[in-house]
């Protein structure tokens, strides 16, 4: 049997990278969430608990802090991955690491999205099994379905943000970074418009589609690729994307 070409030795690694990256990434996200909760908790206990407007304001503040901390930890994770990547590249024989940075960006964005989505939705899912009526106190009866859609959008968004973020850090395009952070803040802010779902869900999905297209082009895709993919699938040589 022919030995695989040297860069190809990394083919087994992306699968491993996906599984391995999940707990690391999730850990970083959890730490960011922990810090944000700590800040919120301290601020709530230092303030007047009866004033509901103040509490709501503190909640908004807590959410904004959490978003910013998530992006900070995403950056920290990027730095960590860069170091690991350099280490891998140094010891590999042709100077290239077996896992490409684009793959790592995708995987890290996906893991971030998964842990963020799971944390947001799992309690809702657990409650949805038990007996109850949605919206019996006058809230929207579409709570569950909109939560599901929002979570899906969030997972996609994190994946796209991961790809764009890593690429922007790599090429030092700081305006891209700022745009990613701003869009995250805008998305989170749009959820404050719930339960006015037309104003929140629709713009969030528009943002998701835009980010998706941007991430696609950042990752090196183009219209030609899409056409080729659709038309000559059978004759396409096997290679990793």
């Amino acid at each position: 049997k022919k030995p695989p070409p040297a860069p190809g030795c990394g083919f087994a690694a992306p699968g491993a990278a996906l599984v391995l990256s999940f707990p690391h990434r999730a850990f970083f996200w959890l730490v960011s969430l922990l810090l944000a909760s700590l800040i919120w908790f301290v601020s709530v206990h230092l303030s007047d608990q009866e004033d509901s407007k103040l509490q709501y304001g503190l909640l908004v503040f807590g959410a904004a802090v959490s978003v910013l901390l998530q992006e900070v930890f995403r950056f920290a994770y990027f730095k960590l991955l860069k170091k690991a990547d350099e280490g891998l590249a140094m010891i590999s024989e042709d100077g290239r690491s077996p896992i490409s940075l684009k793959q790592m960006a995708y995987v890290s964005g996906l893991s971030f999205g998964i842990i963020s989505g799971v944390f947001s939705v799992i309690n809702i899912l657990a409650d949805s099994i038990g007996p109850g009526i949605v919206g019996i106190h006058g809230d929207s009866p579409y709570y569950f379905i909109t939560s599901a859609f929002l979570t899906m959008a969030l997972v996609f968004l994190h994946t796209f943000w991961g790809v764009i973020f890593f690429d922007a850090c790599e090429k030092r395009r700081y305006w891209c970074l700022g745009l990613v952070v701003a869009s995250h803040l805008v998305t989170s802010g749009l959820t404050f418009l719930n339960p006015w779902y037309e104003a929140s869900l629709v713009p969030i999905y528009i943002i998701t589609v835009c980010m998706g297209v941007w991430a696609f082009f950042t990752a090196g895709g183009s219209f030609r690729n899409v056409l080729k993919c659709l038309s000559c699938k059978a004759s396409r040589p096997q290679r990793s994307r």
Partner: protein, 459 residues
């Protein structure tokens, strides 16, 4: 609990050398627990193997032209780099090979806790934790839990020392009998109770003949798989089931605060028992190495591939978890010290491998290496996650956070294992992370996420 890396080399004449698969391969293995003879054997085996690998690669290089440069020094350095890359790739594989069983065990425990009421009801306590926690004052409760912990840990220490003494004075029959008795009890009695409770929860009727048939088959196949020979995956499945059952018993019978204090104390004990020069576990390993034989092949979860374990080697295929209520604790702790020994037997029985291109060498290495983790580690990880699921007021985020923390701890421990290349305690880092994340998520993150969810805000 300790974890060790098993690396079985593949050539016909070299014995196994203990070598981690995360670090570069050309450094000779650190003879931490090995006596001089084994270390020198390992050293010469390694150089011998490298020379063999080098010679087997040269015709390939010429033929395929994949490797650049054909001069000897380039080939040698390329060889080393290739090995390092391989070791990193396989190191990642080992981490995954441990993630999957640990995750499965936790899933079983959490699923049971969340659905079967029996395991969250307070129905008395073990005799090892005699002090009740039903006292009104906080101080009294704290005192009681600390006293419970002291009693439990001292019992564990006594049992461990007893086991070490038994091993030192070669009372093998006694140890084997003890292990077999324990696994009998676990596989039959605890499974019967578990099945009964699950059937009660789902209100499914089952007649006694069917029950006897099911339990008998489950238990008998389990005893055979664990203590004798069996397909690797079935063995692994039984070990996972048994760890889950043990963890469920702990979760049910340990009072709340005592459980947390015990978890903390056990990690400290583990750290000391494995790393201190006079620790019982360390003495056990050293004795086993002096005698050049495997320590109890029971109570270790091994992820080695099929064709190594399928060999007819009774002691390596024998795995028996001890099941007296918490003997698993210290037995699990000792038992995965069988690093080089059981593997040396495995490699000796393997048929000689002819020279071959580098790929098949990779495949063989891939199949040979395995990682071992003690069952006690599985049990205590699952106890932590199960307690989080049972007591965190119906909140799944806490359970998830503890789960991620434990996995990260396991990753870190494996990394340290690669750095230090000797048997390490697997409990301290994971349990510390798990406890920190449990308490902080339960008290800080939960109110935050609940408030956000009530307004349907997403961050």
């Amino acid at each position: 609990m300790m974890i060790t890396f098993m690396n079985n080399s593949d050539s016909e004449e070299e014995p196994c050398n203990e070598r981690t698969s995360l670090m570069s391969a050309e450094s000779p293995p650190v003879p931490s627990h090995q006596d001089g003879l084994q270390a020198s054997e390992a050293g010469e085996a390694q150089t011998h193997r490298k020379r063999r690998m080098g010679s087997s690669r040269s015709p390939n290089n010429a033929a395929d032209g994949n490797m650049s440069g054909s001069s000897v020094p380039v080939r040698e350095s390329a060889l080393e780099n290739e090995e390092e890359e391989l070791t990193l790739k396989y190191g990642a594989k080992h981490v995954i090979m441990l993630f999957v069983p640990v995750t499965l065990c936790m899933i079983v425990v959490v699923a049971t806790i969340k659905s079967v009421r029996f395991y969250t009801e307070k129905n008395g306590q073990l005799i090892y934790t005699p002090f009740s926690e039903d006292t009104p004052s906080v101080g009294q409760r704290l005192l009681n839990s600390v006293l419970n912990t002291i009693i439990m840990i001292s019992v564990i220490v006594v049992m461990t020392v007893f086991l070490v003494l038994l091993y030192k004075y070669r009372c093998y029959k006694f140890i084997h009998g003890w292990l077999i008795l324990s696994s009998l009890m676990l596989l039959f009695l605890f499974t019967y109770i578990y099945l009964g409770e699950v059937l009660k929860t789902y209100n499914v009727a089952m007649d006694y003949p069917t029950l006897i048939l099911v339990i008998w088959n489950f238990g008998a196949v389990g005893m055979i798989c664990i203590h004798w020979k069996g397909p690797l995956q079935l063995q692994q499945a039984y070990l996972i089931m048994i760890s889950a059952l043990m963890a469920l018993v702990f979760i049910k019978y340990l009072p709340e605060w005592s459980a947390w204090v015990i978890l903390g104390a056990i990690s400290i004990y583990d750290l000391m028992a494995v790393l201190c020069p006079k620790g019982p576990l360390r003495m056990l390993v050293e004795t086993a190495q002096e005698r050049n034989e495997p320590i109890f092949p029971a109570l270790i979860y091994s992820s080695a591939m099929m064709w190594t374990v399928g060999m007819a080697k009774p002691d390596t295929a024998a795995r028996g978890p001890s099941q007296q209520t918490w003997d698993t604790a210290e037995d699990g702790r000792e038992n995965h010290r069988s690093p080089s020994h059981s593997d040396s037997e495995i490699s000796e029985t393997r048929s000689p491998v002819p020279t071959h291109p580098i790929t098949s060498l990779e495949e063989l290495e891939e199949e040979e290496r395995g990682v071992k983790l003690g069952l006690g580690d599985f049990i205590f990880y699952s106890v932590l996650v199960g307690k989080a699921a049972a007591t965190a007021s119906g909140d799944w985020n806490t359970t998830l956070a503890s789960f991620v923390a434990i996995l990260i701890g396991l990753c870190l421990t494996l990394l340290l294992l690669a750095v230090f290349k000797k048997a390490l305690p697997a409990l301290p880092i994971s349990i510390t992370f798990g406890l920190v994340f449990y308490f902080s998520t339960d008290n800080l993150v939960r109110p935050f996420m609940d408030t956000l969810a009530s307004h349907q805000l997403y961050i």
